[in-house]
């Protein structure tokens, strides 16, 4: 495939890996966090860590939109689809994320509010299995999988008598399309369309990771460098990372999602570390500029505003780490329209997703990993999305440990 195969060339990859190996300083470890799930997926899928010496350690970051969505927000979405009877439009990945076990109760209340509404969910019968959007759908909620915000808009147009809510999640890449949908709805006077906004911001999360005590007090989670986001950076540009390079003295290389991009970025980071440089470099120059996509930024600024605080799964409350819909578009804000209340829900005790998302631990160190928590039966969100560290490792990396239990698992 043209423009794809070039970035997956095995020969070039091995040559790059050899160059990296020769440039490593003896006795030194290079701990590189790839922020994005897209990079995590590429590293696992193509076996990149296997090509590299053990001194290079990839630490998987929180850049997977499904993974960082806190349970309470999934509960809100289920509530919308069951108790409020809306058509909930969602990306497919979100369907299987486990919500809280208590979700049945809110649906039970719905029984009183609307006796014709739904069959009693499992939770209402006293069984303690976590809900999910998929289960709510099976119980009769009108939940539709969409591939874009435009699909949700079309569903709203086609169902003028129903409330249609788009469950918007994602980083800076998916935010502009949501903004476009909201503006289109405003232009068309679509009164039955609203957005449950869960868009989050990458730089805030990186700062949160760097400010974490485990990272600040060197030792627990030493981080030497960052592979910067790929698609996110096409929107926000490379400029926002300059702060991290300067303030936190961490080199950043923005890289594409193809395996050769990751290897090239690794080489650039190794060189920065070796030379004691802390700069923002751009490996993904075929798509990313310093300023980013000004038009998209303007659009986002028009439709959204910063949330003073937002809970991220794994990171906790992140100040200014997410967006909400600006007052001028408040009619399209599902939180306002339905008066949604947020209740934080703690993770399952056995689940290490939080620590994994912070880079404090690895999937295979979690007791639940591969035993009770698998892609078929996810307990934590990292096992749900194929960009999640656990799912990527489970799908692509397990056999390496089975074959060589002593080997590290990157």
């Amino acid at each position: 495939m043209k423009f794809v195969d070039e970035f997956r060339d095995g020969e070039v990859a091995r040559a790059l890996a050899r160059t990296i190996a020769t440039e490593l300083q003896p006795g030194r470890e290079y701990r590189i966090m790839e922020f994005c799930g897209g990079h995590t997926h590429a590293i696992s899928r193509y076996g990149i860590a296997e090509l590299l010496p053990a001194a290079i350690r990839f630490i998987h970051g929180p850049g997977c939109p499904v993974c960082v969505l806190p349970i309470g927000r999934i509960d809100n979405a289920i509530d919308l689809a069951t108790r409020r009877g809306v058509i909930l439009c969602t990306y497919g990945d979100t369907l299987r994320v486990p919500a809280s076990k208590g979700m049945g109760q809110s649906t039970e209340r719905a029984q009183h509010a609307n006796p014709n509404d739904l069959h009693p969910p499992e939770g209402a019968r006293g069984e303690a299995t976590p809900m999910s959007l998929l289960k709510a759908k099976a119980q009769g909620a009108d939940i539709r999988m969409v591939y874009s915000s435009a699909d949700a808009l079309k569903i709203a147009r086609d169902n003028p008598q129903r409330e249609v809510v788009f469950f918007a999640i994602g980083f800076e890449t998916t935010t502009p399309p949501t903004a476009v949908a909201i503006q289109a709805a405003a232009r068309e006077g679509l009164t039955n369309f609203s957005v449950f906004c869960n868009h989050v911001l990458t730089p805030a999360a990186i700062q949160n990771i760097l400010d974490a005590p485990q990272v600040r007090r060197l030792g627990t989670v030493p981080l030497d460098a960052f592979i910067g986001p790929s698609h996110v950076s096409t929107i926000i540009g490379s400029q926002p990372y300059e702060f991290f390079a300067e303030e936190y003295q961490k080199p950043v290389v923005i890289a594409g999602f193809e395996p050769l991009d990751v290897l090239q970025a690794t080489l650039m980071l190794v060189r920065q570390v070796n030379e004691g440089r802390c700069e923002v470099e751009n490996e993904f120059s075929r798509a990313v500029t310093r300023e980013g996509n000004r038009k998209a930024q303007k659009l986002v600024a028009e439709v959204f505003e910063l949330r003073p605080s937002f809970e991220w799964r794994g990171l906790g409350e992140v100040p200014y780490g997410a967006l909400r819909i600006h007052r001028r578009y408040q009619d399209f804000d599902a939180e306002r329209r339905f008066g949604l209340e947020y209740h934080a829900v703690p993770d399952n005790k056995a689940c290490e997703c939080g620590a994994i998302l912070r880079g404090v631990t690895t999937p295979k160190d979690c007791k639940a990993f591969g035993t009770v928590c698998t892609p078929q039966t996810p307990i934590g969100s990292c096992m749900v999305s194929n960009e999640g560290a656990c799912a990527a490792y489970y799908s692509y990396g397990r056999y390496r440990d089975a074959a060589k239990p002593e080997e590290r698992a990157a």
């Binding site: 495939m1 997956r8 095995g10 076996g47």
Partner: protein, 348 residues
């Protein structure tokens, strides 16, 4: 068939709609059966107008398979639910090396479904059955109220006979065996996907839906000792190989470079974040045979129109964990796991 009609007016196949009377057992149902199903499927068994078909005596081990079809949309590039419902069951019968003998067809129709569409579907089934040389010998029609179905669902059942000496089963893969596929992977799934209401994209991909029993017969003529045959439908090649690996208690290693995937399919998968290894096929098979027979089998497959693009794609290995792995074109090795969740509902 030219015979005097017992009915005042013929069924209106131009503007008519299915109504509840078409499934009620009365005159309307009898007329629909006569003027549509009997007229199109026409064979000696149906002409007897009994509730069952009496077949001639069958010699050998009889196999039976059934398959329900709920594909959406009903019509897609390269086929429709009609021919798909014939091919699907014929292939299930054929995947143990059997020669299919007869089919049955059960229809669940939704009130309000256009009779024109129904006739188009039935004609497509009739043509597929004729081409396969396997008659549809008995059937059933039910109608559900509007909103309780989705146009039409079709269940077909097939029986067939396994030739003497043929022993094909999912537990017969042995370490050292070769893994072959009969052609390009992922065509059916991507053809369906390209039409989904929220995902329309322009493409030249057409479904590969086809009946494979004649290909199987040609393969068995060349290599009677084929160990495993299976058609990688839902879940694609990856899921099929994982099933076989577990059943046989073996592992497998695929060679990514050897996997036949069309450029268009690979590109569409890339765009949508899908993996062609998990995309459904409806006219492809996987065969596993000893390494010594592999070239002969490949040659036999390539000599048949439905196996023209066949390839040897990997081998069976010893592995207590039953992993299916793949040597990637990139130069690494990765697990090719079971499909999780569903990539796409109602693909067949």
């Amino acid at each position: 068939m030219s015979r005097r009609s017992d009915y005042l007016r013929p069924v209106d196949f131009k503007h008519g709609l299915v109504d509840l009377s078409h499934g009620a057992g009365g005159r309307a149902m009898a007329q629909l059966i006569e003027e549509l199903f009997l007229a199109e499927f026409d064979n000696e068994y149906l002409r007897q107008a009994n509730d069952q078909a009496k077949l001639a005596e069958l010699k050998g081990r009889v196999v039976m398979a059934t398959d329900s079809h709920v594909v959406s949309p009903l019509f897609f590039p390269g086929g429709d639910i009609g021919c798909l419902s014939v091919h699907g069951t014929l292939n299930d019968v054929a995947m143990c090396g059997a020669r299919p003998v007869a089919l049955s067809a059960g229809f669940i129709l939704e009130e309000g479904f256009a009779l024109a569409d129904l006739r188009r579907i039935v004609r497509s089934m009739a043509q597929a059955a004729r081409e396969a040389g396997v008659p549809i010998v008995t059937g059933d029609t039910k109608v559900v109220e509007r909103g309780k179905g989705d146009g039409v669902f079709i269940t077909t059942t097939g029986i067939g006979v396994v030739p003497e000496g043929v022993e094909i089963s999912g537990d017969r893969a042995r370490p050292g065996d070769a893994i072959l596929v009969s052609g390009y992977l992922g065509d059916h799934g991507m053809a369906i996907l390209s039409l989904r209401e929220n995902l329309q994209f322009a493409t030249s991909i057409v479904s590969d839906t086809a009946a494979l029993h004649e290909l199987v017969a040609a393969m068995l003529a060349a290599v009677p000792g084929i160990g495993v045959l299976r058609d990688p439908t839902r879940g694609g090649l990856a899921t099929t190989l994982n099933e076989i690996a577990r059943q046989s208690g073996v592992g497998m290693v695929l060679e990514e470079r050897a996997l036949p995937v069309r450029e268009e399919v690979a590109a569409a998968c890339e765009l949508l974040g899908l993996d062609p290894l998990y995309v459904a096929n409806e006219g492809k098979l996987v065969a596993i045979c000893s390494a010594a027979d592999a070239q002969a089998l490949l040659a036999a497959m390539r000599a048949h129109p439905l196996g023209r693009d066949a390839a040897i794609v990997g081998q069976v290995i010893e592995d207590s964990q039953h992993f299916v792995q793949m040597e990637t074109a990139f130069g690494g090795r990765r697990v090719v796991d079971w499909l999780t969740g569903e990539q796409l509902p109602r693909i067949c």
